[in-house]
């Protein structure tokens, strides 16, 4: 009896693992921001592989003409059509084999100036529609076939909240879910879900619980009202569990905590929930199922807003449905995604002094607390041990591929009162290069289940583009100098590179049309925020702006 049960258990484990593996990989299409709803940025296509990648050549390119803030989006591909959005929300449908324009839609420039960031990291498709958020805080749906406007709805008043939408939305069943920016200001972050069909509100989940709700007691006085936490990137979705996973932003004020932490709070326990956390929400209702706070009382602007990878893997001899998530500090957690149980935590940057370590159960050891009015040198920085650009995961190697940056800051907290929608960082934090180094970034391959580094490839400047992994055992990314390149997924050896002419800050995708595999990447350096910061650290460099999608394939007839 026991033997038979084991047999069924093993069978069940294997089949669910195979299913999950399939759910995480893309095939001919690249339907979501992170590839699939599991956010691996991994393509099962292997026509382009380690043996022939040297022959990879541009197949076509597309100039968007929107050079104001350059191209950060990851393209989406379905049934041979590519969908692309620019910083100022010009949306294009292109023939994915040739680049021929099928339709375009130009979102009207807001009549009034809007605060906050300008940029778009991507769009979403589903229910025959194309969805995107705007800098004046609208969610917009277009007809996927024609580009015709179908509906738009105001998510919040941009003038008041100081927040807007730069992230790609996530489609989960009949809903489209979107997060916003604004968490460095006096604002209370949230996720909002709309019906894909009608645009009507489905649910809203506030990152910070209101009075009477569990978790509100982790805030001092009224500080929850302007406590930040904005989930400004794109989450993931497990259809089988019907759970939406999202990372939340830092608490505000970012660098000075005396106004938001209850007196006498234990910093080894949850503080300022649910900021700097990974949360699991019910897809239908938006109700919180579980949470895991990665940084209790974040005083370093270490968001947890980054991507969430859903991976089924064996860990310590047991098959688990996990999720893998990196905090801005480079602390990386592996959780059971059904319960939120912490299974593993490790740290990726080489230069690190904000803590001396982390315990197996996720407790920070030796926290360095910034002091009001005093300057403390801290590494890594608010710019991130990794920036917002996504890592990738290959089920063939079992490695995460991560672009890691090594930076430090001289942080001086101050104390100003919050004014709704206005900057509430409460600190000055000029970023600088750590001394005694000649390289300031690296592409890493980590086994998340053991927390062991397999290989790393150092680079002299910073890396701010997303990673793409493929079943051809290749890892693609680009650098600020304009080089787009392929590494051997097993060894990190550089196998191919191409100078695209402008710096890389976007995301690459792989897809196939009529049996031909393509690798598409956004190009064009970004002149604001972290892009400008990176440039200022290397004043002799002149990383070129632009807004061009470049698509590569093996030469016709060579396959």
């Amino acid at each position: 009896m026991i033997i038979r049960m084991r047999f069924w258990l093993i069978l069940l484990t294997i089949s669910s693992a195979a299913l999950a593996q399939d759910a995480g990989a893309t095939h001919a299409d690249w339907p979501h921001y992170g590839g699939t709803q599991f956010s691996w940025r991994y393509s099962a296509l292997d026509q382009i592989n380690t043996s022939n990648v040297k022959a990879l050549t541009p197949a076509w390119l597309f100039q968007t003409g929107d050079y104001a803030e350059n191209l950060q989006a990851t393209p989406i591909v379905e049934a041979g059509v590519m969908y692309l959005i620019t910083a100022r929300a010009r949306v294009f449908a292109l023939d994915a084999a040739t680049g021929r324009e099928i339709w375009n839609y130009r979102y009207p420039e807001p009549g009034r100036s809007v605060p906050g960031f300008v940029g778009s990291r991507g769009l979403a498709i589903g229910d025959g529609k194309v969805f995107f958020g705007t800098k004046d805080n609208y969610m917009v749906a277009l007809d996927q076939k024609t580009g015709r406007l179908l509906w738009k709805v105001s998510v919040d008043d941009v003038q008041q909240c100081g927040c807007n939408i730069t992230a790609a939305p996530l489609v989960a069943r009949d809903k489209v879910i979107v997060g916003g920016s604004g968490g460095d200001g006096a604002h209370r972050g949230y996720l909002t879900a709309f019906s894909t069909k009608t645009g009507r509100l489905a649910w809203r989940w506030y990152v910070i619980p209101g009075p009477g709700e569990k978790g509100n007691e982790t805030w001092k006085g009224d500080s929850w009202r302007f406590g930040g936490g904005a989930p400004w990137l794109t989450g993931s979705y497990d259809p089988a569990l019907n759970l939406v996973y999202w990372g939340t932003g830092n608490a505000a004020a970012d660098f000075y905590d005396a106004e938001r932490v209850p007196t006498g709070a234990d910093k080894s326990k949850d503080i300022n929930l649910y900021t700097a956390s990974v949360v699991a929400l019910d897809g239908d209702t938006g109700k919180l199922r579980w949470y895991h706070q990665e940084i209790h009382d974040d005083v370093w602007d270490f968001d947890s807003a980054y991507e969430v990878l859903l991976i089924d893997r064996e860990i310590r001899g047991r098959m688990r449905q996990t999720l893998v998530h990196m905090n801005k500090s480079g602390l990386t957690s592996v959780l059971d995604r059904t319960t939120g149980e912490l299974l593993k935590v490790f740290s990726v940057p080489e230069v690190q002094n904000w803590i001396t370590g982390v315990t197996e159960d996720g407790k920070l050891v030796g926290r360095v607390e910034p002091q009001l009015g005093k300057t403390t040198t801290l590494c890594p920085t608010a710019a991130g041990a990794k920036s917002w650009n996504s890592m990738a995961y290959s089920p063939r190697t079992g490695f995460l591929y991560v672009p890691v940056n090594e930076l430090c800051t001289d942080l001086t907290p101050n104390n100003t009162s919050p004014a709704e929608g206005q900057n509430y960082m409460n600190g000055e934090f000029p970023v600088h290069l750590p001394p005694g180094r000649t390289t300031y970034s690296h592409v890493d391959a980590w086994d998340p289940m053991t927390g062991k580094l397999a290989w790393k490839v150092p680079y002299k400047y910073l890396l701010l583009a997303s990673m793409l992994a493929t079943a051809g055992d290749l890892v693609f990314t680009g650098n600020p100098e304009g080089e787009f390149y392929a590494l051997d997924a097993k060894s990190g050896n550089k196998l191919w590179s191409y100078q695209t002419g402008a710096g890389h800050r976007g995301g690459a995708a792989s897809y196939a049309v009529n049996g031909r595999q393509y690798i598409a990447t956004s190009t064009g350096w970004h002149s604001s925020v972290v892009g400008a910061l990176a440039q200022s650290l290397f004043p002799d460099q002149d990383w070129r702006l632009g807004s061009t999608l470049v698509v590569f394939a093996l030469p016709e007839g060579s396959r």
Binding site: P115, W151, D184, A382, T416, Q422, E428, V431
Partner: protein
């Protein structure tokens, strides 16, 4: 003879709003557009981008940088990013951080000031806050009403302020019609009907959704089951009275 006259008029127009108010607005704009994220620090302090306070910049230089940007750096041109009053206010504000005693203001932004309710007192001030209070999420007035530049202008501008909370709840809304699309009936506010299609707000739930139907795909009839009372339930009568007090103070 005409030239001196013109020169006289320019500063007169410029100083129609007090310098102090413009600088206050400038500080707001600076906080929202310049001290964001990883750029300049609060009040012109250093951050990702250089310090701007106490650098000895004159107003002409500041204007040039704000309007043209600085090539090869993260400092972009704000000429088309900011409204003209905001541009003037933020330039004056940065000038004030550099010890310019009497910075020039080309125009004021009375609209933003009115909306902020900063000059209001008592119940009207409380009403201004309630009108747009974020904690009420989509239940706040500003979900559908724009007053003085704040809020989303779904409804027509408020022209007449009801006398009481009861009157506010019983408000006649003849513009709200009933639309039928794909067999579904919904309360709607029609924006435009034309050859390109029909643009309307779907008022089934809050926030209202602007929808674009194919020509002829939606049919309208007068009257609807929609009631103003059903969307202002987030407020009690006292709060509604305060909001009316605010509207009386700012709606001309």
């Amino acid at each position: 003879m005409r030239r001196p006259l013109l020169l006289l008029f320019v500063p007169l127009l410029g100083w129609s709003q007090s310098l102090q108010d413009a600088l206050k607005r400038g500080e707001q704009v600076f906080s929202q557009s310049c001290a964001t994220g990883y750029c300049h620090g609060v009040k012109g302090g250093p951050s990702g981008a250089p310090r701007l306070a106490g650098r000895g910049f004159n107003q002409a230089h500041i204007t040039n940088v704000v309007v043209s940007g600085v090539a090869g750096t993260g400092m972009r041109s704000f000429a088309t990013v900011l409204s003209k009053p905001d541009l003037a206010a933020v330039i004056a504000y940065v000038a004030s951080l550099n010890g310019v005693a009497n910075p020039r203001i080309s125009s004021g932004d009375e609209e933003a000031e009115a909306a902020s309710g900063s000059k209001l007192t008592g119940e009207a001030a409380r009403g201004a806050q309630l009108f747009k209070e974020a904690v009420r999420s989509f239940g706040r007035c500003s979900t559908c009403h724009e007053v003085g530049g704040l809020g989303i202008s779904v409804a027509s501008p408020i022209a007449r302020v009801p006398d009481s909370a009861a009157a506010l709840k019983a408000l006649a809304t003849p513009n709200v019609k009933t639309g039928i699309m794909n067999g579904e009936s919904m309360p709607v506010l029609v924006l435009s009907e034309g050859k390109q299609g029909t643009l309307f707000y779907d008022l089934t739930s809050t926030p209202p959704v602007e929808r674009n139907a194919e020509p002829g795909a939606v049919k309208f009839s007068d009257g609807s089951s929609w009631r103003h009372a059903s969307v202002i339930g987030a407020y009690n009568d006292q709060e509604l009275a305060a909001i009316l007090e605010y509207l009386r103070a700012v709606v001309k």
